[in-house]
Amino acid sequence: MLDSGDFAAGDYGRRGLAHAPARKGIFHGWFILAAGFFSLFMAMGARGTFGVFILPMSDDFQWSRSEISLAIAIGWLLNGLSQPFIGSAYDRIGGRLVISVSLIIMGAGTMLLSRIDSLWQLIVLYGFVMSIAAGGASNVTIHGVLSKWFYRKRGVVLSMVTTGASAGSMILAPFATYLILLAGWRTTWFVVGALVILIPLPLVLMFVRDDPADMGEAPDGGPGPSDETSTVSQKPQVGPLETNAWQQSFQSVPIWQLMGSFFVCGVTTAIIAAHYVPFAIDRGASPEVAALAFGLMTGLNVVGAIAVGVVSDRFGRKRLLASLYAIRGLAYAALILAPGIYGIWAFAVIAGFSWIATAPLTASLTADIYGLRNIGTLSGFATLSHQVGGAFSVFMGGVLYDHFGSYDIAFGISGALLVGATIASFSIREKKYSSRFQPIGASTPETAGDED
């Protein structure tokens, strides 16, 4: 375990800022939130729209679904594998540069998709270029930047920015669908690629700064370090596990609890993303009903994410995270046990609230416990575990369905894993390790709270 003499400064004390006088005008962190939202909106939205290009591109090139799926699978895998490296780059050179370069590469790669003539070009551009670049304009980097700008509101802010990815898919997918009808898939790829650069990049370049002190500000809009009116303590508040070297974090327990539960998050969301509609049709639902149920779940996940963010800033995060996994486990139980399409609807309603809310909570807890110096790298590893879990579960779902002719066993395994994720999250000793619970001026394990 880490010793208490190896601290890295980073956070400001929660209680110290609670009485900070308000600044005039809009706090700059909110503009960074907007830049992050539109970056996720376009980066994740552009990747999400790939599905609407599949049919027209297949028609033109006579590609099979499995050939196109190869590009998707490679993209999924490389996006996950690249996250720790991109997170490390973020920790070293800052979010503004990493996000900007990623958006430019991703936009250029997307525009080049308008020129392809063979499958290998699709695999290179979508599977490699776009998927790796998307990692630089992802939750890993954007949560990292925002964690430095928000301390008391960290949970709700990370939740709000995360909804940008959902909103991007919801808007860009129909936009691309109709543009393909009007102008064909080549023009549509070019337009989507141009939008990936033109919409978020000016916001990122203008707004994103890695350290509030660069703007004479402090987290949450408190008085900046140079503010002569400041009367609050600016002593950084650190938790006992904050460290200069990210490798040391892996000698402590919470990172494994967070990564393990996020692995289960990947398992339980990806298997549904891949197999929910076929499962619903097997259960007697029409494709339309299955689509409607999934759409309901998507709407609820935005509501759930923001609500959870608000609550987590007031009452702590680990119990909420554990509750989300428990709720998702109940949804799986309903999916398997409820008869006919009742299970489909019950799952959509119950699971919808937990669907994306786990991501900002996991990022917030990681930042609270390990500080901000290595937040990119650690979030990158957490995301890698999520993506590995997702790839594993999609494969497992297909294999078990082929063998047993039913999804019940695959979904049962996923539900059982959620019990483990619930226990792992609930057993995180948040009050002992989170900087939010450290007494001001005392941040060693001996002085921190120990009554989780």
């Binding site: 729209t49 790939f50 599949i54 998707i72 959902s166 898919s169 997918a173 993303a273 891949a274 999934f294």
Partner: protein, 67 residues
């Protein structure tokens, strides 16, 4: 491998058949042509960030005047 998902979790590609069905629902609901929908959604995507930039510019101008 299934061609993944409906309105996604962390950026998974949307299911093509599902999107086709959604398109028909949008057509039935709004009765607009493709051009009108592309323009509406495009305007939404462009104007929202422009509004953020305008607010920022206004705030900077106001702060500049008070200095």
């Amino acid at each position: 491998m299934p061609l993944l998902s409906a309105l996604a979790h962390h950026g998974e590609p949307i299911d093509p058949e599902l999107m086709d069905w959604l398109r028909h629902q949008i057509d039935a609901l709004f009765g607009l042509g493709p051009g009108a929908i592309v323009l509406s959604l495009g305007a939404l995507m462009v104007l929202a960030p422009l509004a953020v930039l305008a607010v920022y510019a206004l705030q900077r101008a106001r702060r500049g005047r008070t200095r």
